[in-house]
């Protein structure tokens, strides 16, 4: 049974002082069901997740007590990817006809402060100042720049694109384009990454209605087909966050293994993708993930970005809505926002940021601690 996405809902990311994370998730869920011309009574199942916003299944108090199966998913930054993967399997297996995927969050201001014990580590690791995701991203990038000759100018270009795309995305948190000078002069956070090169924890909600492909036209004139949804954890040797030691060699990351499997299952290759969302927790992540997902060779990003290939008008537009950099990262909702954006691009309803020439195949990629990745391939 093929799988289709027929309803899209979003509560704008950013700060919403009057709403809880759960309430933002419920707003997104109602929007997704309305978009599909249906309602909560018709939903046979739901998968949902949140890091700091509470239990997803308590959303039934806001949507209605209909007795459906509602399963909570928690997989770090890959929560949205894992929720969609579970929903995909539920439809694909024939167990259900239609259901809801939802993710939401509401994080305190500032950097995340994870507890070592929740990640299989002892307290000394956090107490001595090693338990910061920002350090990991900076160190992975520092080595990558050394090995593949990526310049600081390219880091600036990625941030510049993110905020420019955010400025034409009505639901983005950061809607002001920034000049190269403004980006270059921002305070350093963790060498080589400064303040405008990192995304920030934020708030927001996102939801999708997903159903059997053969009934999709009952809900929308433009179903988006979910060709495959793959989630992978890390293999030995992958350079990962929250790791007091790393292997003596660098093996393929979970992004590489998830991406490779997704392309195999979908029966297409990276060259067939028209528009992509790649996890951009910071600018270096977008750069490295271009190669890890198979879109270019390691080191070719320098040329690709200089030539504008990842711009909305380029050969492979990446993060057309400004990505995590312009939208912030409400962890539970972030992976679903990527899918939401790709669905709008494939429907042709992305407004000022619409990729030209009717894109047919889209791609989303999330990456999260402590080394997990989720990849979705979508098509009209």
């Amino acid at each position: 049974m093929d799988v289709a996405i027929v309803g899209l809902g979003l509560h704008p990311f950013g700060r919403s002082p009057s709403l809880s994370g759960l309430e933002q998730g419920a707003v997104a869920a109602r929007a997704a069901m309305a978009d599909a011309g249906t309602d909560f009574k018709a939903m046979q199942f739901a998968f949902g997740g949140s890091q700091d916003g509470g239990n997803a299944d308590s959303m039934v108090n806001l949507l209605g007590l209909t007795g459906l199966q509602f399963t909570n998913i928690w997989n770090g930054c890959a929560t949205g990817g894992s929720s969609l993967n579970a929903a995909y399997s539920a439809i694909k297996s024939g167990q259900y006809d239609i259901g809801l995927v939802t993710g939401f969050d509401k994080h305190p201001r500032g950097a995340f402060n994870p507890k070592p014990s929740e990640w299989g580590l002892d307290d000394w690791y956090g107490e001595t100042g090693l338990m910061l995701t920002t350090q990991f991203f900076a160190m992975k990038l520092q080595r990558y720049m050394h090995d593949y000759n990526i310049s600081r100018e390219t880091l600036v270009s990625v941030a510049e694109k993110a905020f420019r795309n955010g400025s034409i995305t009505p639901t983005a948190w950061r809607q002001t384009a920034l000049s190269r000078e403004e980006i270059e002069q921002a305070p350093m956070v963790s060498e080589p990454l400064n303040k405008y090169m990192f995304c920030s924890p934020a708030e927001g909600g996102c939801a999708l209605v997903i159903c059997r492909a053969d009934i999709a036209h009952n809900y929308t004139s433009k179903p988006i087909y979910l060709k495959t949804a793959v989630v992978r954890s890390r293999n030995y040797g992958s350079f990962e966050v929250f790791a007091p030691s790393q292997a003596p060699f660098v093996a393929d990351s979970p992004t590489v293994t998830a991406s490779r499997t997704a392309f195999e299952l979908a029966g297409i290759g990276p060259e067939d993708v028209d528009v992509a969302q790649l996890q951009d927790t910071e600018v270096g992540a977008e750069i490295m993930h271009m190669a890890e997902n198979g879109f270019c060779a390691h080191g070719d990003q320098e040329k690709w970005i200089a030539e504008g290939r990842t711009e909305i008008t380029g050969a492979l537009p990446v993060n057309t809505d400004g990505g995590c950099l312009a939208n912030g990262e409400p962890v539970g909702a972030s992976g679903l926002r990527q899918v939401y954006e790709i669905c709008h691009q494939l429907r042709g309803s992305a407004g000022a940021r619409q990729v030209p020439n009717s894109p047919k195949v889209g791609y989303t990629h999330v990456y999260g601690a402590p080394g997990i990745s989720g990849v979705n391939i979508l098509a009209v």
Binding site: T128, L132, Q135, H146, S190, E191, S245, A247, P248
Partner: protein, 143 residues
């Protein structure tokens, strides 16, 4: 003299006039881990031994922590007395890359490939007034 105690047992040899990093070595596949662990991440076995991993290596990658981290960071520093610190992975002789604070904390003083050596540094005082210590790496000066 103030008593010194490791912040966490088993990370480095202590007491020792010439402390070294402690790790585990898998008796099946030979891969190392730090801190020592009873199972092996490479071959999935659970037959390992604790071994000394030496005190020298080369800097594999690095960054600089510019602001004082939030909880669970726990030292006697205040935002006013906080000093930025380097963080890096140091590749030891066995090949394992161990994450560590670094004494050097400026871009001018840090470079991939530079030789590093272990040192023991104070973290904070405990309830009994003993000084809790941990490990970090610092640039190895030419002999």
């Amino acid at each position: 003299m103030i008593e010194q105690k490791p912040l966490h047992d088993g990370l480095f040899s202590w007491p020792d006039s010439d402390p070294e990093i402690l790790g585990s070595r898998c008796n099946e596949c030979g891969q190392h881990a730090f801190p020592p662990q009873s199972s092996c991440r490479n071959c999935t076995g659970n037959n390992t031994s604790v071994v000394g991993l030496g005190r020298e290596g080369k800097l594999w990658t690095w960054t600089i922590q510019t602001f004082m981290p939030k909880d669970p960071y726990l030292t006697d520093e205040t935002p006013e007395t906080f000093v930025p610190y380097g963080v890096g992975y140091v590749e030891l002789e066995c090949g394992l890359r161990v994450e560590s604070r670094l004494r050097q904390n400026t871009t001018a003083d840090l470079a991939i490939g530079m030789p590093m050596t272990l040192e023991i540094i104070p973290v904070r005082k405990d309830d009994q007034g003993a000084e809790l210590v941990t490990f970090q790496f610092t640039k190895k000066e030419p002999n």
